[in-house]
Amino acid sequence: MTKAQEFKQQSEQTAFDTALHHKLQNSIGQYQHKHLRGREQFADLELAKTRASGLKQKVIENLDKYLIEFESNYIKNGGKLIWALNAEEALKEIEIILQKHNINCAVKSKSMISEEIHLNEFLKAKNIDCPETDLGEFIQQEAGERPFHIVTPAMHKSKEEIAELYKQKFGTPAQASPEEITKFTREYLRKKFYLADIGITGANFLIADAGAIAITENEGNATLSVSMPRIHIAIAGIEKIIPSLNDLDLFWPLLATYGTGQKLTAYNSVIFGPRQSHEVDGPTDMYLILLDNGRTNILEQPEQRRALNCIRCGACLNVCPVYTTIGGHAYGTTYSGPIGKVITPLMKGLKEYQHLSSASSLCGKCTEVCPVKIDLHNLLLHNRKEAIQQGLQPKAEKVTWYFWKSAMLSRKKMNKGSAKVKNFMLQTFFKKTWGEHRDLPVVAEKSFNQLMRERTGNR
């Protein structure tokens, strides 16, 4: 089955899943409510968005310079930097680190880029115990599922479903409350933190002038992941750069307000390398893997390059009617929703993934909400354009467009054929594409063109 067929099948399965829709509406409803309050902290939100967008744009347009600035400052702080072109290279480097430090137990905090390289599966195959330590991610890992949403990984699960999962996995009571579940998870994971030799995290921002990484979280698990184990591995995409430490006062509130509706996320850490000679604790070694994995393909596109501004707040998913209709898993990709539909086809190839660019009604809500002003729906159009330019179009479609175009280029041709003939053509050629849920519209007996010509007596 091709990726497009898989997507079609998956999305058809969930499109009418009203139970799923209710759960998503519930969760996103709470987010929207908080988000509106979070926004109030900005004296001039539009200006904040414009500044953030401008800063990211400046970084992306000069990424080569910023990456080198970051690298040299980061190395000065004592960190080890690894450049990885793709998932395979990143995993190979991680394996080398694990072997070098003789590691069996790890802990990991929430990181979408680790999903991108399938790190959990890799570590499992190497017999390394590596629990997710973010509650939502932990639930997903125990359920054997990938994250459903880039910020809220278990958004699609009700508290009853989670209690049931815990009962099966850990024998907790079937009626366990969210508080009890959280308490149990906390105690369970605390032991894992004690045992872990290595902590794996992502990074929300790479700060060029400080050579530091910033991590944002709500549960304290990322802070534990970088402070308790003796080794720290961080993985980040090369686009995560912001110019200066001072820019965090702009990006932290934006990320919080658009990600979870908070004014500021509960824990915001800036990590300046491993333990320094004058320090008494912290990891002895810090490795940072800077991953390309298709990001330079995006950088190559002068328009779609703007998608690299993304700070992964997930706001575009929450407002997307396609996302809330089919859910995050139907996409079959690491990044779902509008941003996923823009970047996945470019990162992994339009040939296999162009169907994602077409899976949007272009309603523009994603563009409206984006805190770094990415015009996501326009970028989907650019992807579609690129797919046509690469000749990635089924023959049948080409034929349909040919006839459509020749009719639209000539009023004479458009007027040809009675309504009866046109309706017959519609029924013959469009019944299947219009689908089983809808009646086809009916061509009127007389077109407006004909009615107007009759009206003015100009036949």
């Binding site: 579609r384 009023r411 849920h437």
Partner: protein
């Protein structure tokens, strides 16, 4: 005032009565209506499918057909959005661009024209019904039109207009989207219709027949107790 009109391809073929009603409303409001019978389409379907060259060919024809310096009134926010917001990209650095600039200034959606140019809001319409107004994405987010249709509808005698939940959410049409992903599009129509029914609406009104075509086609197949009506057809009711 004499105005040109642009009647989009699918309205011409599927909903000629709405276009005719627009002509009558414009005339009732004191406008002379000029119609160039050579017009066909703005090229939006091709543009949204990524076929920019096809769009450009059709757009060049469109630009040739509207050479007068007067308003081009159109019963579709979606097509106006295409011409106003995306033609600049399509015709950048092309010979047609200068001619296009005139169209950019003149093309206008019907409710925008009535409320903000003519300043005529009372058209003597009467319709006994409970209704909701569906904001089309193009009107709302491409043209920034939110109140215009509501102002016009507030003057319709007998019409009880209510606001529905998620009123700014897309109905699921999206052009080729609704043929490439019919299940997703249909589910979005279902959600939109359910929101309307929650308000006991008998009619879903919008500025855009593309939304309504999709909503209506779902409602009739699924025998939902609601029908769709273009703003213009409501205003032409008596």
């Amino acid at each position: 005032m004499i105005v040109d009109i642009f009647i989009p391809c699918f309205i011409d073929q599927f909903y000629p009565q709405t276009a005719l009603n627009m002509v009558q409303l414009l005339e009732r409001a004191g406008c002379g209506v000029s119609y160039n019978p050579e017009q066909t389409c703005c090229g939006q379907p091709a543009f949204n499918a990524g076929r920019v060259d096809d769009c450009k060919a059709i757009g060049e024809k469109f630009i040739r057909e509207f050479t007068n310096d007067r308003y081009i009134v159109t019963p579709s926010a979606s097509c106006v959005g295409m011409v106003k917001n995306y033609y600049p990209e399509v015709f950048r650095n092309s010979a047609s661009y200068n001619q296009y600039k005139l169209i950019h200034k003149n093309i206008i959606e019907f409710s925008d024209f009535m409320v903000n140019v003519l300043r005529v809001t009372e058209l003597g319409a009467k319709l006994e019904a409970k209704a909701v107004y569906h904001d089309s994405c193009a009107a709302l987010r491409e043209l920034n039109l939110k109140n215009e249709a509501r102002i016009l509808l507030s003057k319709v005698r007998g019409l009880k207009l209510r606001e529905m939940k998620e009123q700014d959410v897309c109905c699921g049409f999206g052009g080729t989207f609704s043929t490439k992903h019919p299940a997703i599009a249909s589910s979005m129509a279902e959600q939109k219709i359910n929101n309307a029914l929650q308000e006991d609406a008998e009619i879903i009104i919008s500025t855009d027949l593309s939304c309504l075509m999709h909503i209506q086609s779902y409602a009739s197949k699924q025998a939902k107790p609601v029908k769709s009506m273009h703003l213009i057809d409501v205003l032409a009711s008596s």
